[in-house]
């Protein structure tokens, strides 16, 4: 990634950006986010297959955004997240420069977010086979079996909200779960509180989730909560033809088609 380091340095030296967000080596064999502010910081930049955290979660963080114009090392999921965020007016060309990394690990610098969008649209969001199998298995269960499965799987959740914090789309500073007049979602982590929190999360990500698995990767308890968002993704495709993050296009869940099909409304 010499090219990346070189470009990051140039950008910082020229003052084009104030911070370059990328990956560096972390604890054990993990990688972590790097915020290069001085040109020399950029020497620590790396990129390899371990770099899976969705860095887009940082571009809405006030402390990072507050530094000034950002550049970000962006893999495909990160780019998708950026476009979704741009469509929700959270980032724009004036505060973000994207140093894309293609699925072939090539660096491309994008002139603007419109170019990023065009690049993102070359690829469709596909559910990985290992997840499709799990989802199919769940589909084959009876509703009662699924209910037991989820109550059991969600039972360890202690509501640390790492899933929310790691998700680039969960940038709201006051989440529904923190809305307490009325208290929509029970705050304590018990079966009901956990169920409602995870349902709410899935619904709020419907039509917005870009399937990066950041939530699952962040969960300290290994709860397969990304199955919920994946299911929403499949439903979006099945019922409404799916979606791609897009700066200008209408959002899947805030729009409708008069001929949306259903088979259950009497």
């Amino acid at each position: 990634m010499d090219e990346l380091i070189k470009r990051a340095k140039e950008l910082l030296e020229a003052g084009t950006v104030k911070v370059v967000i990328g990956y560096e080596n972390g604890s054990a064999d993990k990688t972590r986010a790097l915020f290069a502010i001085e040109p020399k910081d950029a020497d620590k930049l790396i990129f390899d297959s371990r770099c899976v955290m969705n860095l887009a979660t940082y571009i809405t963080k006030a402390e990072v955004k507050g530094k000034g114009k950002m550049a970000i090392t962006a893999t495909l999921p990160v780019m998708r997240a950026i476009i979704q965020l741009a469509s929700e007016f959270q980032v724009n060309d004036s505060n973000l420069l994207v140093l894309g990394i293609t699925p072939e690990s090539k660096m491309i610098e994008f002139k603007d977010l419109a170019e990023v969008e065009a690049f993102v649209h070359k690829y469709t969001i596909e559910i990985e086979a290992k997840y499709s199998e799990k989802l199919e298995k769940l589909d084959k269960m009876t509703p009662s079996e699924r209910w037991s499965f989820w109550i059991e799987e969600l039972s360890p959740c202690f509501k640390c909200y790492a899933c929310r914090a790691a998700c680039p789309m969960c940038y709201c500073h006051k989440c529904t779960v923190e809305f307490n007049q009325p208290q929509w979602i029970p705050v304590p982590s018990h079966d009901l509180g956990n169920l409602e929190w995870h349902m709410m999360r899935a619904i709020h990500l419907a039509g917005r989730c870009i399937d990066c698995d950041a939530c699952y990767n962040a969960c300290p308890l290994g709860i397969p909560l990304n199955l919920l968002t994946k299911r929403m993704l499949i439903d979006a495709k099945e019922h409404f033809g799916g979606y791609q993050p897009s700066i200008k296009a209408d959002h899947l869940m805030s729009t409708y088609k008069p001929d949306d099909k259903d088979n259950f409304i009497m």
Partner: protein, 149 residues
């Protein structure tokens, strides 16, 4: 033992289904008294979380009803609602919530008889299914005394 009387909550819009239910009354069509109507301006206003809350608090069944497509007093609230219902219902199913207990319908201000049918058929269906014990088991013991068990 007395026969099980399902508790059913109906979330309806003011302009079509509420008015339709008024017409059921004006037409003196009788139906089961298990349903309690909560009036909203529009199906677009109906928060899916309220449906979940109804189950939390012990509802055995839910009816959600509004204007037919193209009839919405607010032009498109019902279209938005339909899109959300499609996703919400699917999520419920995926989680294992018994979606047979949530009935969605379009009942216009002119369909007094249809409203009575919807209520009666829902009551009959829920009576058949019995109390929603599976959900209540989770909802009514929210606080565990011990860890992870």
């Amino acid at each position: 033992m007395a026969e099980f009387e399902p508790k059913i909550v109906a979330f309806v819009c003011n302009w079509c289904t509420y008015a339709g239910a008024d017409l059921t009354g004006t037409s003196r069509i009788k139906y089961a008294s298990n349903v309690r109507i909560v009036r909203f301006p529009c199906t677009g206003r109906i928060d899916y979380m309220l449906l979940v809350k109804a189950f939390d608090e012990g509802a055995d069944g839910i009816i959600v009803s509004g204007c037919h497509p193209n009839d919405c007093h607010y032009t498109s609230g019902n279209f938005h609602a339909r899109r959300r219902w499609i996703m919400f219902r699917s999520l419920c199913d995926f989680i294992g919530i018994d979606i047979r207990r949530i009935k969605f319908s379009w009942v216009s201000a002119a369909e007094g008889a249809k409203w009575a049918d919807i209520v009666n058929s829902t009551v009959a269906a829920i009576r058949e299914l019995g109390p929603y014990e599976e959900y209540q088991k989770v909802a009514k013991k929210p606080v565990k005394e011990v860890i992870n068990g």
